[in-house]
Every structure is written in C-alpha cells, then in structure tokens.
C-alpha cells in the first residue's frame, strides 16, 4: 500500500496548504505596511465573533456549498463543469419567474416552487454542453465556459428589455411579492430581548444546502446511479463494457450538476436581493471549483471548505471596511488560498506522501 493514511489526506494537507497561504498573505499585507496580525484579528472578529458576521459567512457558504457540490458531482464522472456561474445565472431567471408570476400563499411553498424552477433552469443550461460532450465530443470545459457568457448576455437582455419595471434604472426585475420572502436567520433566531444576525442575509436556504450535501452523499455512494457515475469517471471503457451508457451518464451527471449550481439562485435571488439582479452570482460558480477541489469532492469536505471560503469573503469585507487594504489585495489574499488549496495541491501532497511512505518503510 503506497498510500498515506486517510486523515493526512483529508486534514493535514488542507491545513498545511492553508498555513502556506496565510504565510504568503501575511507577506503581502506586510508589504503594503499593514499588520497581518491586526488584519487577521479583524477578519476573525468580523466574520466569526459577531452573529451578524456569521450571518454573512453562512450566506456566502450557502452559495459555495451548492456550486461546490455541483462541481463535485460532475467531477465524479470526470466532467469538469466550469459553467456553474452561467447555470446559476439562468437559474436565477427560473426563480424570478416562479416568484413573480405565481401568487404564493406562504414562503414554505414558494421555496419549493423556486427550488424546482432554479434546478430546472440550471439543469437545462447544463444540458446543451452535456449533449454536445456526449454526442459530439465537444469538450465540456470549453462549452461550459462559453455558456457562461451566453448566460450573462441572455440575462442582460431579459432584465433590460423584458423584466425591468418601466422607468427603473437598475437592470433588475421588480421586487418579489411578500409571499415569497424567505425567513432570514434574524427572523428565525432573534428573541424579544436580543437581536441575532441583524441585517445579515443568511436565510433558510442554508439548511437546503446542508440537505443537498446529504443528498449528494446518498446519490454518489448509496445509489446505483452514483455507482455508475463513479465507474464511468474511473474508466470509461470499463464502464462501457459493464453496460453503462456514456451518453446517459454524461448527460445525467451534468443535469444534476447544473441543478445543484442553479440552487444557489434560491439563496441569492430569493433569499437576499428578493429580486433578480444582473450580478447575483459574483463568481460563486468559479469559487465552487476551488471548494470542490479543497473538499476532495466529498460533500462533507465541500461543506467545510464552503464555510472557510464564506469566512474569507466576509473577513475580506471587514478588512475593506476598517482598514486601508485596497480590495484588489483582498482578492489577492483570497486568490492565494485558492492557489494553495486548489491548484498547488500536489506541491504539498507529494512531499507529504513520500514522507509517510518513508516512515512506513522504516517501521516495517
């Protein structure tokens, strides 16, 4: 067995990667004359020590969970879905249509309707690249990226020309009716005496995201379809030999992936802005790739990684509010984390793997 123990793979490597990222981020902050310790304290204070901070952290985390799961599911079939961004954008349209044109009596029904709308639109947006990959061999990476741009253009057209209320300047739809307003954490956890999560956008969709994590775990490891997806991902020829249709698995995996990415629109469009805006996804589709990589494509890992990235986003906002660190450098810090946990994974992994194997040999 030339493998390192599981705990090292799941815990040790991400932690070392994070420490490396933190180290280089500190250098960046030092270079512009701010104190890294102060900055880190601000981030933790703002993101984790106040309930409103948690409200933002979990709001971002909800988005990243959905998009991370979307990437993870596709990746089990060795499909690289870079189109989470576009799928979520179009899913926002689905949410908006459901919320605007159906008179919902209560939010609990509305969220079900909106979820169906989001999943359906997101899945449909993934269907075309999936079909092209399955039938025509057009590479899914290229087509899904292209579809992000098509989605942005389409959404822009729909918002500016069709959904924008007359006379409004903002390219956004009308406000959703009151019956579709989701309860936020503030509504759910505040008591008479103490206001919790004041003004924070985290809402009931967070629990939907946790449910989605469980769903993906069940799907991938406890169903026949999940087995087929994994088998196809491991070896297409073997899967074919076993009677698994590559076309079917490619399309189904991408549909599920698109639906999951689309679900984040429930959080942003219905939960936060309560109207459809142009820029609702804000790169969460791409962050999902980093989240899935860091979470090793396992729902639990995705969940933890999503909260970490939520912390980075909210902490970054606090830095922007109270220090003179320009936002470009905050992006640099966020990018360093993605770089070390995602792209440079092997840089940490290989030496550690060798170390463990060497240790085992000595013990043996």
């Amino acid at each position: 067995m030339d493998k390192m123990p599981k705990w090292a793979d799941i815990v040790l490597i991400p932690v070392i990667s994070l420490l490396l990222a933190a180290f280089f981020s500190s250098l960046v902050i030092l270079a512009i004359g701010e104190s890294p310790v102060e900055a880190f304290k601000l981030m933790v204070d703002g993101a984790l020590m106040r309930s409103a901070g948690w409200g933002y952290t979990l709001y971002y985390a909800t988005n990243f969970m959905f998009t991370g799961l979307a990437v993870a599911v596709a990746f089990h079939a060795r499909l690289f879905n870079i189109g989470g961004e576009g799928q979520a954008m179009i899913a926002g349209l689905g949410v908006a249509l459901v919320c605007l044109y159906i008179p919902w009596p209560h939010w609990s029904l509305a969220i079900l309707g909106a979820s169906v709308g989001a999943a359906l639109f997101g899945a449909l947006w993934a269907l075309i690249p999936a079909y092209l990959q399955a039938r025509r061999g057009s590479h899914i990476v290229i087509t899904t990226i292209m579809f992000n741009f098509i989605a942005a253009a389409l959404l822009n057209y729909v918002l500016v020309e069709l959904l924008r209320p007359v006379g409004a300047m903002d390219p956004a739809s009308a406000k959703f009716p009151a019956g579709t307003h989701l309860p936020t954490f503030q509504d759910m956890f505040s008591t008479e005496s103490s206001k919790m999560f004041r003004g924070a956008p985290a809402n009931v969709t967070f629990f939907l995201a946790l449910a989605a994590c469980v769903f993906v775990w069940l799907l991938i490891w406890r169903t026949r379809l999940g087995y087929e997806i994994r088998a196809f991902g491991q070896s297409e020829t073997a899967a074919k030999y076993a009677g698994i249709s590559p076309v079917r698995i490619t399309v189904i995996a991408m549909l599920i992936s698109g639906a999951l990415a689309g679900m984040m629109a429930v959080n942003t469009t219905m939960g936060e802005s309560e109207r459809l805006i142009l820029n609702a996804t804000e790169g969460a589709g791409f962050i999902g790739i980093a989240v899935a990589l860091m979470g090793r494509n396992h729902p639990l890992g995705v969940c933890v990684a999503a909260i970490l990235f939520g912390f980075l986003y909210q902490g970054g906002a606090e830095l922007a509010l109270w220090t003179n660190i320009p936002r470009e450098l905050i992006v640099v810090i966020q990018a360093l984390v993605i770089l070390f946990t995602g792209a440079l994974d092997n840089m940490v992994r290989e030496p550690i793997e060798k170390l463990f194997i060497a240790m085992r040999r000595r013990n043996a």
Binding site: N156, V166, K175, E272, L278, G316
Partner: protein, 329 residues
C-alpha cells in the same frame, strides 16, 4: 468655516457622548472601484477635497459583492458615520430598506432617487451634457462620422448616447454616429482592452471623434484615440489631461461637487430630491489648457449658446429614460 468647524466638533462630541465610535462621514464606492478615472474617482476627489479643506477624515469602502451593499450601509451607520454617501444607482433598492432603520443617520445617494425622509437623492441630467459634447464632436469631426462607446448596456448609458446623438445631429443632421456598448455584464465598466478594440473598429468605419461613457473602459478608448491620432471625449471627471491635445473635451458630471457638498453639510445634510444639470452647474463640458488648441472660439460660442438655451429651459434635450426611446438614431 470656523463656525462650521465648531459645529462639526460639537456634533462629534454629542455623537461620542451618545456612545458612537465616530462621527465622520463615510463614502461607499460601487463595484467599478475607486480609481476608475471617472465616476467613482470623481466622488473620491470630492471627498478628498473636503478632507483637505476641513482636516477631517472619512471612512470608505470599495464593494466587492452585491451582498456587501447592505452590509456596508449598516456597519457604517451602526458605527456612527454620518452622513453616508454612496455612488451609483445600484444602491437604490437597498438604501430604501436600510434608511428607515437609522432615522438619525443622513444618507446621500448619487444617480438614483430614494424617497425617504433621511435621504438626499442626487441625480444628474447627463443627456444635457452629452448633448453639448455631441455638438462639440460634430463640429470637430472632418469625416462627418463620430463614435460613441458605452460601458454596460443599461438605460443610463443609452441616456448618454441619446443626448450625444441629438447634439451631433443638431450641428450636422447628416452626420453618422456609430454606437457600441462594451458589454452586457458589469465587467464592461472596467475593460480598457475591449474599449481599445471598439475604438479601432470605429476608426476603421471612419469615426474621427469618439465619446466614451464607459467608466474605467474609457481609459482604453482615450488611449487608442490618442495613439491613432483622432480625438476623444472624456466623461464624468475632467479627462482632458489624460492625453493633452488629444481629448477634445470631457462631459463633466460634477459628482465631486455632490459628494463635497454632502460632506460639508455633515449631519445637517438637506434631504430630498436634488437635480444637478447644466442650469445649476452640476453638468458641464470641460475647457482647460489641454484642449484650448482643439476648440475654436466659433465652436465654443455655438456650444455655449446651446448651453444657455438648456439652462433657461428654451432647449429641451430628450431624456431616454423618460420613455425608453430615442427620437434620433
């Protein structure tokens, strides 16, 4: 001014004794970023001018995400910042929800109308200024073809375009106006490379004056126009100095004045609806030593005549956003 100082000091003392951490004004920049050489930078310029003149300090944040709009507003309001100034129409919806929660805080929003008792809404008649620079462009053009490069394709930018075309046609009814929008996503506000490509494409079609209403993208437009030896028209801030002798004029939207006034007024900020147009100096075209050689007395006289006519109400420039159509193409 010293009276003002005393007053500000007193206000700060009151705020401090009330337990608030700071009574300084705050400025929130929209997603385009602080240094876009245009709209947001003009706001920053106004705030800096206020800080230099009064010795005061102000809080600021450049937003990174949509969800931060509400967050920034609430955090600044809770920290006692007053007034809170924000640039961009995209704050409209959020502000109308947040403002009632902080009745003691004054807010100023630029480019949008929010009907709340503690909000000052500042809007600009960009179509008037665009009309003036359109006249200027048509007079400077030798080919009879001028260009317009917008940022993101939204009604506000079509309002710029529509005013511009009207101004061009007022001088030369046969002129051709080539219009391009940089993009359909917010990235279009900050894409100088695309701006440069569009400029080259318009030059190939015969344009010899190009008007950029595109935020940070305009930097690329002005650069390419200067490189290719044609004229350009800047926007929002006075951009004449960016390429001296190559920028015909700039359509100045005095966002800096709006911010400066709001911060000077401090907690006494007068709320309500505030239109900045040609009539009250909120909109103008830029003349300075960098473009003096490009604008003849004759050209200037013609534009100034229109300017007076607009100011007096004699000449009404059609506002695209009033009915979402433009009478000229």
């Amino acid at each position: 001014m010293s009276l003002m100082h005393k007053f500000l000091g007193a206000a700060a003392a009151v705020a401090l004794s009330a337990g608030a951490a700071l009574a300084e004004p705050a400025l929130i920049f929209d997603l385009g970023g602080k240094f876009d050489k245009s709209f947001n930078e003009a706001a920053f310029g106004g705030a800096t001018r206020w800080a230099e003149e009064t010795g005061g300090t102000f809080r600021e944040i450049e937003l990174q995400s949509e969800a931060q709009r509400e967050q920034a507003l609430r955090r600044f309001a809770e920290a006692g910042a007053n007034p809170i100034v924000m640039t961009g129409f995209a704050f409209g919806n959020v502000l109308s929800e947040v403002a009632p929660d902080y009745p003691d805080t004054k807010f100023a929003i630029i480019d949008m109308v929010v009907d709340q008792p503690n909000v000052r809404s500042v809007v600009f008649n960009e179509h008037e200024g665009s009309y003036l620079v359109g006249m200027m462009a048509a007079q400077a053009s030798k080919s009879g073809t001028v260009g317009f490069i917008g940022g993101m394709d939204i009604p506000l930018i079509r309002k710029f375009a529509c005013g511009y075309v009207q101004g061009v046609k007022a001088v030369n009814p046969d002129a051709t106006v080539i219009q391009n929008m940089t993009g359909t996503t917010p990235a279009a506000w900050n894409d100088p490379v695309k701006g440069s490509e569009l400029t080259k494409a318009q030059i190939a079609q015969g344009a010899d004056v190009v008007y950029a209403a595109a935020g940070g993208t305009g930097v690329g437009v002005l650069q390419t126009a200067a490189d290719e030896n044609i004229l350009s028209v800047g926007v929002d801030s006075n951009q004449n100095h960016l390429h001296s002798g190559k920028v015909l004029t700039s359509m100045m939207k005095r966002v800096d004045n709006a911010v400066y006034e709001a911060m000077t007024a401090g907690v006494d900020l007068e709320t309500g609806f505030n239109v900045m147009g040609v009539a009250n100096g909120g909109i103008d075209y830029a003349m300075d030593e960098h473009n003096a050689s490009l604008v003849s007395a004759d050209m200037k006289a013609k534009v100034d005549m229109a300017k007076d006519a607009i100011a007096s109400g004699e000449l009404a420039v059609h506002d695209y956003m009033s009915d979402n159509t433009c009478p000229v193409e």
